[in-house]
């Protein structure tokens, strides 16, 4: 055949054409599965390094989720049932490593879907997503833009969900009138600052000072806390600080004599915070991530199967490791499974279409809508209710599920105002 081609004249144009076709073919992942073949899912997140707390617990949760699904036969596609398996790649929260990992997962491992933490690592991966058409998920919708057509944020609409905690606080503790806030100066902290500012303004709570930004390398939080407490605030807001910051800040608040309300996006390992301070000090602490043994998660509208059993199994296998992301990646998989079964295939385009059919999706905390055009330039964030969690007698308990879209309908202009002020709108991020 080669000889024939050569005899017929293998022109430069033909060479370029055939090279392009070959390159395109190599770039596209193989989306077809043999009957009964195991479906592979990529897990591309930090598994080591300072940000690993938002990767590794999620992989552990996915392992439990996969065992449960496989025990029931697996994913039911048009050609029958398929077991599911996770292929992990540690991107160490490094964009270059994330890019290498994405390429490896798609080309070598043949995954059908890739889950990421997102954030700083997404820009490294986006060219791979564009080239291959692979479906990716992120926990951080600030990665979304009109160009990210194969990226979805189907679980954690960070930081928009934090408005629910402030709204609940304003409705249930109206005597709290003033607040101060601190945050690490990074891609996670700043959109959260903008959102909290909008939420406090919407709730009629006065900010006593500009948000106090600190370097992510900070280890001694005494000066930060001294400054926060200097204006005698009713509320101290810890923004979306990593647990490495939340713990020492709370310890300092305790040691420097603060007796008011604390609100934070997360409170991972809050039992340790109680041990470092006191049960009384932590009483009433508001945050946004429930323990999954909460009775409220047995409600009919919850779309996370046997949440309490999942929590029990997780703690049995990984004692003391339950955190904000332990359930989130598994929750994304639940949504993906429903979509794949609806589509009857693992083809990324078909799965995405099935996932977004009718503009609705089954979020872990109830039915939600695909949303985000105004903030992210694309309706690829799944938004609905989000729980407000309070520490009561040393244990996290869901106090209410509050609607994010309802808040946005009333106060969306405030959110856009502050997102714009902090350069966090999608058009500013580029």
């Amino acid at each position: 055949m080669i000889a024939k081609a050569l005899r017929g004249g293998f022109s430069r144009r033909m060479f370029l054409k055939s090279s392009a076709v070959t390159a395109l073919g190599a770039a596209l992942p193989n989306m077809t599965l043999a009957a009964g073949e195991t479906i592979k899912i990529g897990f591309l997140a930090p598994l080591t390094g300072p940000v690993s707390a938002w990767g590794k617990p999620g992989l552990d949760g996915c392992t439990i989720w996969a065992e449960r699904v496989n025990a029931e036969g697996g994913i039911k596609l048009e050609d029958g049932e398929h077991k599911i398996e996770f292929v992990a790649y540690d991107n160490e929260y490094d964009p270059a490593k994330a890019r290498t990992g994405a390429t490896k997962l798609i080309r070598e491992d043949g995954v059908s879907f890739v889950m990421m933490l997102g954030g700083d690592t997404w820009p490294g991966v986006q060219p791979v997503a564009d080239r291959t058409g692979m479906l990716f998920s992120t926990l951080l919708p600030s990665d979304l833009s009109p160009d990210t057509t194969t990226l979805v944020a189907p679980t954690e609409v960070h930081p928009i969900y934090i408005v629910t905690g402030v709204q609940w606080l304003a409705e249930n503790r109206p005597e709290l009138k003033t607040a101060v806030m601190c945050a690490q100066d990074d891609a996670l902290g700043l959109p959260s600052v903008a959102t909290y500012l909008a939420a406090f303004e919407a709730a009629g709570i006065e900010m006593q000072d500009d948000p106090l930004l600190f370097d992510p390398a900070t280890t001694d939080f005494a000066p930060v806390v001294t400054r926060l407490l200097s204006s005698n605030p009713d509320i101290v807001c810890l923004d979306t600080c990593y647990s490495d910051y939340v713990h020492p800040i709370c310890t300092q608040l305790f040691l420097q004599g603060f007796k008011g309300q604390i609100i934070s996006a997360t409170a991972d390992f809050y039992d340790q915070m109680i041990a470092k301070t006191s049960k009384e000090f932590m009483e009433g602490f508001i945050f946004q991530f429930p323990d999954f043994d909460d009775p409220a998660l047995n409600a009919e509208h919850i779309n996370f199967p046997d949440a309490n059993g999942f929590y029990t199994e997780y703690n049995k296998r990984y004692p003391g490791q339950w955190g904000a992301v332990s359930w989130e990646y598994a929750s994304i998989m639940e949504l993906w499974k429903l979509a794949a079964e609806k589509a009857g295939s693992v083809d990324p385009e078909a799965v995405l279409a099935a996932m977004q059919e009718g503009g609705k999706g089954q979020h872990a905390f109830g039915e939600a809508s695909w949303w985000g055009e105004e903030l992210f330039g694309i309706d690829h964030a799944l938004v609905g209710d989000w729980p407000v969690v309070m520490i009561e007698d040393g244990k996290a308990r869901i106090k209410a599920f509050v609607s994010i879209p309802d808040w946005y309908d009333q106060h969306g202009d405030l959110l856009i105002k502050y997102m714009t002020k902090y350069d966090q709108m999608w058009s500013q991020r580029s």
Binding site: G49, L212, F214, T218, A222, T226, R227, S243, L255, F269
Partner: protein, 289 residues
């Protein structure tokens, strides 16, 4: 406002204490051996993990765990001297590169031994000296201040009043002349490494219950220590202590009255100004700079 100033002052004294312990150790190693020890931050981390292993996990009394941290990290220093710096004695750049390699090994060992999570360490005490409602000094922070004053005083006495101390200073000033006087350069290097590393371990161990202990906690302290020794004068112990105090007060007050990011920039500006006005640092000599 007076209360705010007083509390900020107390915060700064604490910061100056642990920074000076780390910086003095770094300067001592550089002064005697001529090696920039990039793994010094990880020695600080190793001290913290000794407290995790003994105090948090095996319920050994805190101060025994801290003493163990000093000794263990001091021994790590001896290991570095023997395995890395002695074979590369005439190659300062080689020593620097070797210390970077050792840094990575220590981080990897911490990850393998303890995982990547933040370690929980129970509070040593929750007692606070309350000068007023707004001016409070936690006892756990007072321990760090006292330890720094005591250890730096002992070091000063050792260097100025003992024969070993004189030998150490002689080796730092002119290793060849010291050797001609019968001073063992190897022995002085061992002493310097043990004390320098031990001080970093002590600082890490003492502050462990007050910070987030993780395998990467050495990054920020090594940057601070380098700023401090450049401002103080590379090779000057007095300069390191004074620069630690100046840096801690500037950084703490700027953090409190502006914000932490501006405080970091101010710290770097301080270093730049010193480098422009007095390139050898506040107490540095031209031959060391």
């Amino acid at each position: 406002m007076i209360e705010l100033l007083a509390q900020t002052g107390l915060n700064a004294v604490y910061a100056a204490s642990y920074i000076s312990l780390v910086a003095v150790g770094l300067v001592l190693i550089f002064g005697v051996m001529g090696v920039i020890n990039f793994a010094h931050g990880e020695l600080f981390m190793a001290g913290a993990y000794v407290v995790v292993a003994l105090y948090a996990q095996r319920f050994v009394p805190f101060f025994i765990a801290v003493a163990a941290g000093l000794v263990f990290v001091g021994l790590l220093g001896l290991l570095m001297e023997r395995a890395l710096f002695r074979p590369l004695r005439d190659n300062p750049l080689g020593g620097l590169v070797a210390s970077i390699g050792f840094l990575m090994i220590l981080q990897a060992l911490a990850v393998m031994g303890f995982g990547v999570r933040m370690e929980y360490i129970p509070p040593v005490t929750q007692e606070v000296i309350a000068f007023s409602d707004k001016v409070r000094l936690p006892i756990s922070r007072l321990y760090v201040i006292i330890a720094a004053v005591v250890m730096l005083s002992l070091l000063w006495y050792f260097l100025k009043r003992t024969r070993f101390g004189w030998a150490l200073r002689a080796s730092a000033q002119d290793p060849q002349a010291a050797a001609l006087q019968g001073i063992s350069v190897t022995l002085t290097a061992k002493i310097a490494m043990f004390i320098g590393a031990g001080f970093a371990g002590l600082a890490g161990a003492l502050t462990a219950p007050l910070v987030s202990v993780n395998p990467y906690m050495g990054h920020s302290i090594i940057v601070t220590a380098f700023i401090v020794i450049i401002v103080g004068g590379v090779g000057s112990l007095e300069g390191a202590v004074l620069a630690s105090i100046v840096y801690a007060f500037v950084h703490t007050f700027v953090t409190t009255f502006y914000d932490g990011v501006i405080a970091d920039i101010t710290g770097l500006m301080l270093m730049l100004i010193v480098l422009i006005v007095k390139p050898t640092g506040l107490f540095g000599s031209a031959d060391r700079a």
